[in-house]
Symmetry: C2
Subunit: 203 residues, 2 copies
């Protein structure tokens, strides 16, 4: 089956969104937690969280264009300089998906979607208590992607909390063992099964 | 288990790479195909391919810093303005991983790793014949990520080839049905199992 650029542009909007959101392959499901000055929390699911580097440890995510969606997450990050990234597991996939609804700014998705805020030390963003792998990041930069008005938001890993006994001697975490999930399209969730580990490749 | 920023910075390099490459969650495994002016092909596995937008259909990937790795893929993209993204399936995961070895510039990973170049119409980058979902993109932009010297390479979808009968009436592709795979850490591959599709979320 073949689609040219103009075939894609002519598709009905929802069909195009589903198709183009599926073709990159599997993406991670993560909840991003933030808060404003008054401690009002916000929680939103993102499928665009990415690894950017290990030294220093940097992660990023893609923010949709201003005006297209409410940007409570971004406003909070800009304002108090931090955010949390929390893995989504199979047992709360439906709750995590529910955070994508457009709640008013003064309503916390933690309460509405059945999650527990976890505040650790003086970090100014809440973690998701139910998540077994959570990361506290400081805001580093926002890089505009001019061609479509999106931005790449970058954070540095300051704190990393992982449930005990899932890191092997090489530092590697089997995320299938904690039932972390993936997503494709707008709303399709996938479980993971470990297939293989391949040695460092040499010619 | 807790790691502070300084705990992470103090880890032995390979352990840090494995740990930090695992925490974002599952990432897609894709092969990027390019060629130089003389038609010499190059093929490399990437775990950073991302969706950037649907109208126009844009995708990106993260390129490691200049000097750290040979950048045949990027040089070819800059030179002839196009590249292909090809899904990795379970049946050729080991071959795909093998493309990460540092082959000399005049050696094609297609030949070395058991893939077949597929040239379609006048598109100046080869596709992977064995892949069931392949995308031809034109180069749009390279955005520097100054904090660590990486770059976000952006392409626009010009051509999309998908094996028949896997797109549903909503435009959504079940990538588990073609056994597309994910990756975490440096070299850990995962199969996918569809869990659920959730309706558009409303408050």
């Amino acid at each position: 089956m073949y689609f040219s650029k103009s075939d894609i542009d002519s598709l009905e909007k929802l069909k195009r969104l589903n198709l183009i959101n599926s073709i990159a392959g599997i993406r991670p499901a993560n909840l991003i937690g933030t808060a404003n000055d008054a401690g009002q929390s916000n929680l939103a699911i993102f499928s665009s969280v990415m690894h950017l580097g290990s030294a220093p440890a940097l992660m990023g995510f893609i923010l949709r264009p201003e005006g297209e969606v409410p940007r409570n997450t971004y406003e909070n990050i800009k304002h108090n300089g931090c955010f949390s990234i929390n893995h989504v597991h199979q047992n709360f996939a439906a709750n995590a998906h529910a955070t994508s609804a457009k709640y008013p700014k003064d309503i916390s998705e933690f309460d509405q979607c059945g999650f527990t805020e976890q505040w650790i030390s003086n970090f100014k963003a809440p973690y998701v208590k139910e998540s077994l792998l959570k990361i506290g990041l400081s805001y580093v930069d926002s890089i505009p992607i001019k061609i479509n008005g999106t931005s790449l938001i970058i954070g540095q890993v300051e704190h990393l909390y992982i449930v005990d006994d899932i890191i092997n001697t090489d530092g590697y975490i089997d995320i299938a063992s904690i039932e972390s999930i993936g997503v494709t399209g707008l709303n399709n969730y996938y479980g993971l099964t470990k297939l293989s580990t391949h040695p460092y490749a040499r010619p």
